[in-house]
């Protein structure tokens, strides 16, 4: 990360935070939703886009974060502490889910994460003292560093700040040896082994780091919704997050953010259109239909995602820097593709 990029990122964050403080309530709600979804999508992107491990358990991991942060916050912990605790707990669970990945690959592992999602959903309902059971856990918004988060605008600013920290940390991570090891494991585990990399440990790190970030995002979801309930963290939520990184562009760092904005704002837009046309009773069906169709159409016609679309439209001849969004998107695709017909 060059100083210039760091400064740029800081400037963008300062502007965004200032803007979110000036927004109306609805605007603040939207910014917060996009920022939190962005954090969750960055976490999943590390796992799927960078390390090549497909996971359908993101929804449940966000849930773990929400429950842990909620319980810590309700017990009187500071918001920062609650988020870090949620991150640590979710990192542990994420690493646990990743254990089968040490033996399984591609398709089989994806199905194993499906099982993890189902089992965690069941536990959310069962562990009543901790999760509040089927009716859910009511969460109080804790203070951050002792400062109360009084309004939606402030909580939006907090979310944007966390998003920025996550983004900086993860983009920095991909320039370390561990980050490069992720890429090698994604491209070929055999090659990684041949290079003397500890594949099992590399994967475990990917799951733990991704889990940590997911836990933080989940904690923020809990604080924002003031409630964590089992039906909020289902497979549908996992699908939302996978859709985000696909729509945005697999394996790039701008992609998850673009995708998060798209997936969060689309239902809102459809809601507005629907209200204008007075078809309120069809709205939920319409929203789902649009979401499903978009996933299908994107995957067929624009598999590299939105984040690769813009540069291609505007600067077709632009010099590609190593690690630029478009290049990664393509290679991420190719690498996961080779794992298609594989047996465990």
């Amino acid at each position: 990360m060059s100083t210039r990029r760091l400064l740029l990122a800081l400037a963008v964050a300062a502007v965004l935070i200032a803007l979110s403080l000036l927004l109306g309530r609805f605007g603040a709600y939207l910014v917060r939703a996009v920022a939190i979804a962005g954090i969750g999508a960055l976490s999943l992107n590390l796992l799927i886009g960078y390390c090549g491990q497909i996971s359908f358990a993101q929804g449940a991991l966000l849930g773990v974060g929400a429950y842990v942060a909620g319980n810590l916050g309700n017990a009187g912990a500071d918001g920062v502490l609650a988020l870090l605790g949620a991150g640590a707990a979710t990192a542990a669970i994420g690493a646990l889910i990743g254990l089968p990945a040490l033996r399984l690959r591609g398709l089989y592992f994806a199905i194993a994460t499906l099982a993890a999602q189902a089992i965690l959903e069941y536990l959310f309902k069962m562990l009543e003292p901790f999760t509040g059971g089927v009716s859910g856990l009511v969460i109080r918004q804790p203070a951050f560093f002792g400062l109360p988060v009084a309004s939606d605008q402030v909580s939006a600013a907090v979310s944007v700040l966390v998003l920025l920290i996550t983004w900086l940390a993860l983009t920095r991570l991909t320039r370390t040896n561990l980050g490069r090891a992720f890429l090698v494991v994604r491209e070929s585990e055999v090659v990684a082994k041949g290079m003397g990399l500890d594949v099992a440990r590399t994967k475990a790190w990917a799951f733990a780091i991704s889990g940590f970030v997911a836990g933080v995002a989940g904690g923020l979801i809990g604080f924002a919704a003031r409630l964590a309930s089992p039906e909020a963290f289902t497979l549908d939520l996992s699908a939302d997050y996978i859709a985000m990184i696909i729509v945005g562009g697999l394996g790039s760092w701008a992609g998850p953010l673009v995708g998060a904005a798209f997936v969060v704002l689309l239902p809102e837009a459809i809601q507005r259109v629907g209200e204008a046309f007075d078809i309120a009773n069809l709205l939920s069906a319409l929203r789902e239909l649009a979401f499903g169709l978009l996933i299908i159409l994107f995957l067929i016609f624009e598999p590299r995602g939105l984040s690769s679309l813009l540069p291609r439209l505007r600067w077709t001849q632009r010099r590609q820097t190593p690690g630029a969004a478009t290049g990664f998107g393509e290679r991420a695709g190719a690498a996961v593709a080779t794992k298609g017909g594989e047996r465990p």
């Binding site: 497909i54 099982a115 089992i119 069962m126 690498a335 298609g340």
Partner: protein, 305 residues
């Protein structure tokens, strides 16, 4: 003892429906390498199609056959329109596109039929038989037998007929199949059509047992554990694992859960273990993946570098 027998019969009936859906997933996986999340959607669509045809006054046999025909068309169309353009796409993208199909199908049914459960018109005659102290409605008997017979028939078709042979060729090695003059892409379409038709029938049978609702689509998610336990590429495995899981679920619901809850109530503050039978397949799935990832009947493949 009678309770156990009763549970076993009910379990076998639902288990054979699971098997029907799991067969479809395996068939699609073998032929096109796609793990199809939309199989549950096919079941749901098939059930709604039967409902519409039955409500229009068609005789039960015709209505069910016609809905299977409709579903075969839907299956072939999804393969042609959605999966064919994604032949070279990464595996996560293909899984996601089928998940997108599931979301679309559910939304379409929600828009047309609404979110409420609908009473399914009777397909089989009313009534029940009681033998040896157990009591089984015709519904369960008919659904179980029909599903079991169809599954077996399908296995025979796949193993014995010329078209089954062509299907196996296309699935095993598509280049070699092309070289000996098999129209591989037609075979793949046919596999999708058959899978969707089977799933449509399974959905209709399930609707006769439990009523018609959008929740029918969730059966696709139960079928995944069935498929993996049996072996992702084994049709026989899907059949056996479907029956086993059906019975296990039924026993868990009827025997294990009450027993567990008694123990828990006596010793702890917990009163309910919830829908234990719903997580059981996933627990088995994890166990199977850790102990024998290729499944009960699967073969271990060589790794290509």
């Amino acid at each position: 003892m009678t309770l156990a027998l009763q549970l076993a019969v009910a379990g076998l009936a639902t288990g054979s429906v699971y098997a029907l859906i799991a067969l479809g997933i395996v068939l699609i996986y073998k032929c096109s390498g796609v793990v199809n999340f939309a199989q549950g959607a096919y079941a749901m669509l098939g059930a709604y199609a039967s409902y519409v045809l039955l409500s229009a006054g068609l005789p039960a046999v015709l209505a069910v056959l016609a809905s299977m025909g409709v579903m075969a068309g839907v299956g072939a169309l999804t393969e042609r329109l959605v999966l064919r353009p994604m032949l070279k796409a990464p595996v996560v993208a293909v899984m996601m596109v089928t998940l997108g199909l599931l979301i679309c199908a559910r939304a379409a049914c929600l828009a047309v039929f609404g979110p409420d459960q609908i009473a399914f018109p009777p397909v089989f005659p009313e009534g029940a038989v009681s033998a040896g102290g157990i009591f089984v409605t015709y519904n369960y008997i008919a659904a179980g037998i029909l599903a079991a017979v169809l599954s077996l028939g399908f296995l025979l078709f796949y193993a014995r007929t010329p078209m089954g042979l062509m299907q196996r060729c296309a699935a095993d090695n598509s280049r070699a199949a092309l070289a000996i003059g098999i129209h591989v892409s037609n075979q793949v379409s046919a596999a999708w059509a058959m899978s969707a038709a089977l799933a449509g029938l399974a959905g209709t049978l399930l609707a006769t047992l439990n009523g018609l609702s959008l929740g029918l689509a969730d059966i696709g998610m139960v079928a995944f554990p069935v498929v993996v336990v049996g072996g992702l590429s084994s049709l026989e495995g899907a059949l056996v694992a479907g029956l086993v899981l059906g019975v296990l679920q039924s026993f868990t619901d009827g025997l294990l859960t009450p027993a567990l809850e008694d123990v828990l109530r006596a010793n702890t503050g917990i009163y309910s273990v919830g829908a234990l039978q719903q997580v059981l397949p996933y627990a088995l799935l994890v166990l199977m993946l850790l102990l024998r990832p290729q499944g009960l009947f699967g073969r271990r493949g060589a790794e290509r570098i």
